[in-house]
Amino acid sequence: MITVHTQFHSHFREVAATARDSFELDEPLVSELAQRITDKYGAKMKALLIDPDTNELNERGTMFVDTKGRRISIEDTLNDGETITFLVGIAGG
């Protein structure tokens, strides 16, 4: 079992109604983290986090990065104590 911390920004923060959370995961997998987050925060979070066409992480207008700034994907593994940051992926204006 590992502990993974999450930081939510922008729309993620609004949907989760919190800036930070932590999750205890049985398996060190992004897929499990995504499942736990959507279980906890409901349908809106699921619609934000998961692409309904592929059942993978939603790449459209979002950005999920590890502590080194690398984008994570659904098949990645996680380390104990790691922080994953959930951001809106938009530029321009």
Partner: protein, 653 residues
């Protein structure tokens, strides 16, 4: 495809309506593609090395075939001209209702040449166009001018929609933009100075005409699918709420802001976050045009409860700042209260001036003062009186803004064309080299984002046809690390999404430049595409809407070739002006001075710059040493006529 062009010769007062041949859409798609062609044609009979502020320059307004049809993909109008600040190809986009109202008035394109003997404005109502006296509008800002024109022309057969300049444009300030309906600025490249130099204060349009759609059922079916795709993505709702302000947190997290003239890359203080804006300032959402399924715009009205600083702006109402307004205010100038950021957005819009070049001109001078490279006396000489230059001080910032807009003093005059030319002239005057502190890329154009860790973005700053800019080839694959898209476009390779390697960064610039050229020629908003509803494919998904509306069937490969052709014409215009590889460059700080903070410290452009640029030329099929186009590439794109002109001008490899 039926479409009309209005030609306006301001010197003679002649107005001429022409049908645009269908073949032009086959070759140039529409929108910016046709604007570019009208500019190219104009400079076959006029000196391309003319003074951009002189009567020989051309000013084109155009709007693409998807705009206003109900496709739902947003609308962008485009202005195209030779840039008075950078001296190269210039163009700029703006949304809102004005672009499709031009179509409803009976035209898609307006090409303006010459110079009126006295201030005029152009009024078009259901195909009837006339030049009217603008002496009562001269000296007014964009909001006042818009209000007066709306009052004068009323609401029949439609409300009056406008494109106006302010005092900055009248004073031919090189970084002056053009504002649509007093709300949305075509900021880049100095279109306002071109209008001002032509004594053209405004364009006002009214109309209730319809728009041609070749296959209405196909268009409605596409539109329905497009809406469903957008609605299925919760991130689109996030974008509706915050617009591009949602980027503030991401940029803060990865270190992509431009703080104090890019001495840093993170905002200071806790206030400038999109959450705080939404909670304290956002009063209601608004759709920028009726042809948009997202509606990301919103309004604020300050009531003084938001913060202590906000009390200074009680009653002020305007649009929510977009990211670059925020990046220039909270970043370049270090303004730390949302009310000041909003006020900066409003005054730069009302004065019709580009907040990128303007903020970088001010932050350049503030940095010189911070480093004691100039004295209080030097500053007093520039402003004609004692003037403080404090980071984060709105009064000091406003003094600088008014200096430039009204050309009040030496500072305003030196920096009328932005930080590069201002710094160059000031270095000469003082006998010192201050260029290390001037932030710019190609053409001397500036941009308030951290570029050093992002090789595709940096390459865009060096090669964008209209001068340093992120929109021409926006590097989303890289910044958002979209390995899926890298694989899709580069035969399974992932390097375009990997910040640690120069590989595929030049290729990615070329790819996205072609895609963006296509979107700009359709006349749609880039944000719908960025939210990726159709799999990030303007050549495929959007191509179906283009076919339904115009009746022009194209394969995705053909459309990509069309985008490439459009980019090559912009390049050819710059090559005729004399631009070569050495002009594809960026400023000293970006090139040599390492980032000290953010997620990617220790980065400089020089690490990858030449490798990326070489690769860009390779993917473009251009000659690497000179940066010039080859006859083979132009022939492949069906541009033999362009190659001939370049050969005559010795601007072909």
């Amino acid at each position: 495809m039926e479409s009309r062009l209005l030609r306006v010769n301001l010197t003679t007062g002649e107005l001429k309506s022409e049908a645009i041949p269908h073949q032009l859409f086959e070759r140039w798609i529409g929108g910016s593609g046709i604007n570019n062609w009208l500019m190219w044609e104009h400079f076959l009979t006029h000196d391309i090395n003319c003074d951009p502020r002189g009567p020989d320059n051309i000013f084109v307004f155009g709007v693409g075939p998807l705009a206003g049809t109900g496709a739902g993909s947003g609308i962008k109008g485009r202005i195209t001209f030779k840039s008075p600040c950078y001296g190269i190809f210039g163009d700029s986009a703006g949304g809102g209702k004005f672009p499709y109202m031009v179509r409803f008035s009976g035209y898609e394109y307006i090409a303006i040449t010459g110079r009126a003997p006295k201030p005029v404005y152009l009024h078009i109502c259901n195909e009837e166009a006339m030049l009217l006296d603008a002496s009562h509008l001269w000296g007014k800002d964009t909001a006042e001018t818009h209000a007066l024109l709306q009052k004068e022309h009323g609401t029949w057969p439609s409300k009056t929609h406008t494109l106006t300049i302010s005092q900055a444009g009248e004073n031919q300030v090189g970084i002056a933009g053009v504002v649509s309906d007093a709300l949305r600025i075509h900021a880049r490249c100095g279109g306002g100075a071109v209008m001002g130099s032509k004594n053209l204060k405004a364009i006002a349009v009214q109309g209730n005409g319809g728009l041609p759609v070749a296959r209405p059922k196909d268009m409605l079916s596409w539109s329905d699918d497009f809406r469903k795709k957008l609605d299925s993505n919760e991130a689109v709702y996030g974008f509706k709420r915050r617009g591009t302000l949602g980027a503030v947190e991401m940029y803060q997290h990865i270190g992509s802001h431009f703080w104090r003239n890019n001495q840093g890359n993170m905002f200071r203080g806790d206030e400038i976050r999109s959450d705080n804006w939404v909670k304290k300032y956002q009063k209601y959402s608004e759709v920028c045009s009726s042809d948009c399924f997202i509606a990301c715009d919103s309004k604020y009205k300050i009531d003084g409860t938001e913060s202590e600083t906000a009390k200074k702006y009680i009653g002020e109402t305007f649009r929510r700042p977009e990211y670059l307004t925020t990046g220039s205010a909270a970043g370049a100038l270090d303004l730390r209260d949302w009310s000041e950021v909003a006020h900066w957005g409003k005054i730069t819009n009302d004065y019709g001036i580009d907040n990128q070049d303007l903020s970088c001109s001010i932050s350049f001078l503030m940095e010189l003062k911070q480093r004691d490279l100039i004295s209080d006396r030097d500053v007093a000489e520039l402003f004609g009186h004692e003037q403080e230059l404090r980071w984060g001080n709105m009064e000091d910032v406003e003094a600088c803004v008014e200096s430039v807009v009204f050309q009040k003093n030496t500072f305003g005059q030196l920096f009328r064309d932005g930080p590069y030319f201002g710094a160059l002239k000031y270095s000469e005057i003082k006998g010192q080299n201050f260029m290390k502190y001037a932030m710019y890329g190609k053409g001397g154009a500036s941009f308030t984002e951290e570029m050093r860790p992002f090789p595709t973005w940096m390459n865009n700053m060096a090669v964008a046809s209209r001068g340093a800019d992120h929109l021409k080839g926006i590097g989303l694959i890289e910044k958002f690390q979209r390995k899926d898209l890298s694989k899709k476009y580069f035969n399974g390779r992932t390097e375009a999404a990997d910040l640690s390697t120069p590989l595929l960064k030049g290729a990615c610039t070329a790819l996205v430049e072609n895609q963006v050229a296509l979107l700009n020629s359709y006349g749609v908003c880039l944000f719908h595409w960025m939210l990726d509803p159709g799999g990030y494919t303007p050549q495929d998904y959007y191509g179906k809407a283009f076919a339904a509306i115009t009746g022009i069937d194209r394969t995705p490969e053909e459309l990509m070739r069309d985008g490439e052709r459009i980019c090559n014409l912009e390049k050819a215009i710059n090559s005729r002006i004399g631009l070569r590889r050495e002009h594809d460059t960026v400023c000293e700080r970006w090139m040599w001075e390492p980032t000290e903070e953010g997620m990617y410290p220790g980065k400089v452009a020089a690490d990858m710059f030449n490798t990326v640029l070489d690769e860009y030329y390779e993917w473009r099929g251009w000659e690497k040493d000179s940066g010039l186009q080859t006859r083979a590439k132009l022939t492949e794109l069906g541009l033999d006529d362009v190659a001939e002109v370049l050969a005559q001008d010795r601007a072909l490899a």
